[in-house]
Symmetry: C2
Subunit: 150 residues, 2 copies
Amino acid sequence: MTTLTIRQMAHASGLSAHTLRYYEDIGLIDPVRRSASGHRCYSEHDQRWIAFLLRLRATGMSIQDMLAYATLRRDGQQLDSVVRRQQMLQQHVLTLENRLAALQDNLSVMRDKVVFYTELASTLQADAQPDSTGAAHDPITLSTRLEPPA
Amino acid sequence: MTTLTIRQMAHASGLSAHTLRYYEDIGLIDPVRRSASGHRCYSEHDQRWIAFLLRLRATGMSIQDMLAYATLRRDGQQLDSVVRRQQMLQQHVLTLENRLAALQDNLSVMRDKVVFYTELASTLQADAQPDSTGAAHDPITLSTRLEPPA
DNA sequence: CTGAAGCTTCGAGTGCACTCTAAGTCAAGC
DNA sequence: GCTTGACTTAGAGTGCACTCGAAGCTTCAG
C-alpha cells in the first residue's frame, strides 16, 4: 500500500523525476495512477517494475529492447507473450554470461598489470635510494622488468 | 617484426581505419611509424598497445581516462608516472570488481526470471491442452504462479 | 596501367539516453 | 497567502564515441 510521489520514487530509484516522466511518456512505464490532484502515485507494483527496469538498464539493455519487453508485459499471461519474454530474457542472460567471461578475463589482465606496476615502482624507488633498506642492490630485477606486459 | 597496414590493423583490432586515425589524432595512439610513401606501419609494439586499449575500452573506460593513461605512458619508467598508472589501474580494477559483483547479482535475478517464465509457459500450455500429456491437471501450479517475481 | 588503398584536413552527422528550459497552471502544507 | 512541488506540451541541448563524406592528392599491387 506504500505509494510514492514522483520525488520519492526518484529518490528511491536514483532516476530523476524528469527521467521517470520520460520513461512513462515513451511507454517504458505504464501510466501511473494519479491522486485526486493529478499527481503521480507510484504503487508497489510500479516500484517493482522500475526496480527490474533498472536491472535491465544496468546490464546494458537498450531502451528499445526494454520497450519491447514492457510492451509484451502488457499482454499478461498470454502464452505467446510469456514465451517471447522468456526468450528475450534467455538471450539477455546469454549475452551477460559472455560479458561476464570477458570481464573476468580483462580483470585478470589488469590485476597482473597492477602487480607489474607495483613491482616496477618499488624497483625504481629502490634504485633512487640504493641503500635506504640496507638490502643489496639487484640489477637483474630492474633489467628483467623493463618491458611492460602489454 | 610483423608490421601491419592500417587496413590490416583495422581488421585485426575490429576498429575501423577511420577510428584508428582518430585515436592517433587525439593522442590515444602514439604517432605510428610511416613507410617511405607515408603509409602507416603498425609495429608489434603498437599492436600490443592497441590490444590493451581495447581492454580498457571494453571495460568501459572513457576516452578521457584512456588519454590520461596514454599520456602517462609516454613518461616511460619515470617513478611518478609509473605510480600514477598503477593507481589508475588499481582504481579501475576496483570499479570492475564492483561491476562484476553487480552483474552476477543481476544475472542471478534474470536466471530466476527465465525459470519462472519457462514454468509459466508450460503451465499455460498445459492449460490450453488439458489432457495432451495425460497428466492430471494441477490448479495449484497455476494459482500460485500468477504474480511475476518482479 | 589502372583500380584499390592510402594520405590529408575539416567539418558535419549519427545514435543513444537523457537532461533541461520555458511557459503556464494547479494544489498542498506551513 | 505564499512557497514548494507537481502537472502539461514541446522543443532544444548535452556528452560521448564514433562515423562519414568530400576534396584532392599519392602510391602500391596485380
